[in-house]
């Protein structure tokens, strides 16, 4: 294998994993923008998406139905989470709410462990496992699915925020809460929407990676942290930043594992984070 095709292989791997990081980072961004909260249960939405889809698929439901139902269910979990844990604390400070999300993350993980046990499970690949070759590197059909769905979700989100009333209202409450309230936007309702939307995106991420990397009750923690890293690298609060941060993190991590040392793969991710924070404390595309 030539160095050239090795690089191609690393980059392809990086892009797929990076896409997942980007989706999770987007989930962080949406909630952060509308509420100011950093939702540390974001990784748990990813885990729930994967686990519920696997459970539904094993009952005999077609893959597509299982996936859609799983997204709906996780969205409901996101809604419930906001209604039961965030909404009732009207006057609480942001830091209190962030700590609540950490608690929710531990709670969701515990419940998942009780329901599904500790073993890893796998969703069947969407269209077979036969790899094909591009520029000397090999790639699975599932990788294309991951990339395709990630990009479609991003496009849909863009359209949602630019062209729908609800999307515009969410952006308005992100830009200026007081002004948004003055023009008649129910800012609290927007908070609920942001949780539902983030949960749905997280669930999609969890479903599309399950065939490649498996799901288990504890996959959410590391994925959540990496997604958070990506959001910070890109600049917390910036959607293009979250996407850029996700892909950058995925690709550099994969190149690092390939050319430096696989033992330091996770360290690579956090070194990149530190470097970015030293050079640009607000992230690459962060607002100053």
């Amino acid at each position: 294998m030539t160095t050239y095709s090795q690089v191609v292989q690393y980059v392809i791997t990086g892009i797929t994993i990076g896409g997942i990081y980007a989706l999770i980072a987007l989930g962080f961004t949406i909630i952060y923008n509308t509420t100011g909260i950093i939702n540390f249960a974001q990784g748990e939405f990813v885990m729930l998406g994967g686990m519920i889809a696997v459970s539904l698929a094993t009952t005999g439901l077609p893959l597509l139905c299982a996936a859609l139902l799983s997204v709906l269910l996780v969205t409901a979990v996101g809604l419930l989470f906001e209604r039961l844990a965030i909404h009732p604390l009207k006057g609480a400070s942001i830091i209190t709410l962030i700590i609540i999300t950490i608690g929710a993350s531990i709670f969701l993980k515990g419940v998942a462990m009780l329901i599904w046990g500790k073993d890893a499970v796998r969703l069947p690949s969407f269209s077979g496992d036969k790899p094909f070759h591009i520029l000397g590197a090999t790639i699975l059909p599932q990788h294309l699915w991951i990339l395709g769905i990630t990009l479609s979700v991003m496009l849909l989100l863009h359209l949602f925020f630019e062209y729908t009333i609800l999307g515009k209202a969410m952006r308005a409450s992100a830009a200026n809460r007081l002004a948004a309230t003055l023009v008649g936007i129910n800012v609290r309702k927007m908070a609920m929407c942001s949780f539902a939307l983030s949960a749905a995106i997280g669930a999609v991420a969890g479903i599309i990676i399950s065939p490649v990397t498996f799901s288990s009750y504890d996959v959410g923690t590391m994925l959540g942290l990496k997604g958070f890293c990506a959001a910070i690298i890109g600049g917390l609060g910036s959607s293009p930043g979250a996407i850029l941060g996700g892909f950058l993190l995925g690709i550099l991590e994969s190149l690092g594992a390939g050319f430096l040392s696989s033992s330091y793969k996770d360290a690579t991710a956090f070194c990149i984070l530190l470097t970015v924070l030293f050079l640009r404390p607000r992230g690459i595309l962060g607002r100053p």
Partner: protein, 384 residues
């Protein structure tokens, strides 16, 4: 007042004492108490649960057959949750409160190492169900273990490689004590056998993708990949190798000897080779194999009582308890004598192999405790 009380007390206590004495002599011999500590809950519960179930199964069987020389056997089981502190507390309770004759378990190497001081000090025999070679090397007077050490698994793999004339290998291991210990052993034993290690790669326990590491291996002239880890990592390695179109054989460790690996790796599990205890291929063993009948009986009994299949971890507990019981039969309820008996055990047929203990060998197994197994059509097949 005081005197009256004392008299009354005597009047009351004497019949009770007498009753206890008489009934004790007439009805039943003293109960033999053995302690067991397993990680029944917590992250290591896949180990601890079958161990506990096996011990309960054996306890019932032994008592139904009349106990040990007429003495009922009672196994007191505590949960360590795989935690060192809880494990130490459980051991102290077993030794000083329950006053057991011997202890079996714990399930994990870490918890075992944490209680060695305690059992050495209290001079009570311990038969651990954990894998690490550090438990019995250097030899500690009161400490034994039943699972086969990594050293033996590696030795078995090296034999296999030599048979196939493979002399260049790549190692990929999970970065936890299990994976690192396997890698270290391979690094020691491979050069001795004239096998060159051309690549070392590592992956984290929760890593979702190993294509980067495997791409590096693909770039070398390795003739086989040896992967040392427990699920789900090894399954991802198998799948990623398929994806990259790597044709060289994949050899795994005994850490994948459960159905979960086949389920996760799917198609990619086909043709994977690994060393394992004989339990998982008991059906296929030749009838001349001394372990065969015992393994089949254990597997059947377990399946009948619990409705799921027995595994090697339960087997480790089977061996540990049976070793203690057989020593108890010969030595009687004396801790020092039990220890001596265990150390003098020869040709003991267990689920994990044929045990031969000695003052310098407290694991008692050789690499023959392993057989090479491959996966074909989603099932384990003995590799002859």
């Amino acid at each position: 007042m005081f005197r009256l009380n004392k008299k009354l007390m005597w009047l009351f206590c004497l019949p009770v004492l007498l009753f206890v004495l008489i009934s004790g002599c007439a009805k039943e011999k003293k109960v033999y108490k053995i302690g067991a500590i397993f990680a029944i809950t917590g992250p290591a519960s896949p180990l601890g649960t079958p161990e506990r179930d096996t011990v309960k199964l054996l306890e019932d069987q032994i008592n139904q057959a009349g106990g040990i020389d007429g003495h009922r056997l009672k196994v007191i089981i505590y949960d360590t949750a795989g935690d060192e502190t809880k494990c130490r507390m459980a051991v102290k309770k077993l030794i000083y409160k329950d006053k057991v004759l011997a202890i079996i378990g714990p399930s994990r190497s870490g918890t075992t190492l944490a209680i060695i001081d305690e059992v050495q000090k209290a001079e009570i025999p311990l038969i651990s169900c954990a894998a690490s070679i550090k438990i019995v090397e250097p030899v500690k007077k009161w400490v034994f273990k039943t699972p086969q050490s990594d050293v033996l698994a590696v030795a078995k793999i090296i034999d296999y490689l030599k048979e196939r004339n493979i002399d260049k290998i790549a190692i990929i291991n999970v970065s936890n004590p299990y994976g690192i210990s396997g890698k270290e052993q391979l690094d020691i034993q491979a050069p001795q056998a004239g096998i060159q290690v051309v690549a070392h790669e590592e992956f984290g326990q929760k890593d979702p993708d190993m294509t980067a590491q495997l791409t590096r291996i693909k770039g070398t002239d390795a003739q086989a990949v040896i992967c040392w880890g427990t699920n789900p990592g090894p399954a991802i390695v198998a799948r990623n190798m398929r994806q990259l179109g790597m044709q060289i054989p994949l050899i795994q460790s005994h850490g994948i000897a459960n159905k979960k690996f086949i389920e996760l790796a799917g198609e990619a599990a086909e043709g994977v080779v690994f060393p394992a205890g004989r339990l998982i291929v008991a059906e296929e063993l030749p009838d001349s194999d001394p372990q065969k009948s015992l393994l089949l009986k254990y597997a059947n009994d377990f399946q009948q009582k619990y409705g799921r299949s027995a595994d090697t971890f339960g087997g480790h507990a089977w061996d540990a308890l049976q070793l203690v019981v057989s020593a108890l039969k010969k030595a009687g309820p004396d801790k020092a004598k039990i220890r001596d008996e265990i150390e003098n055990t020869r040709n003991f047929i267990g689920t994990g192999g044929i045990f031969n203990f000695s003052p310098t060998e407290h694991n008692g197994l050789t690499k023959e405790a392993f057989v090479m197994v491959t996966i074909r059509d989603g099932n384990w097949r003995l590799l002859k």
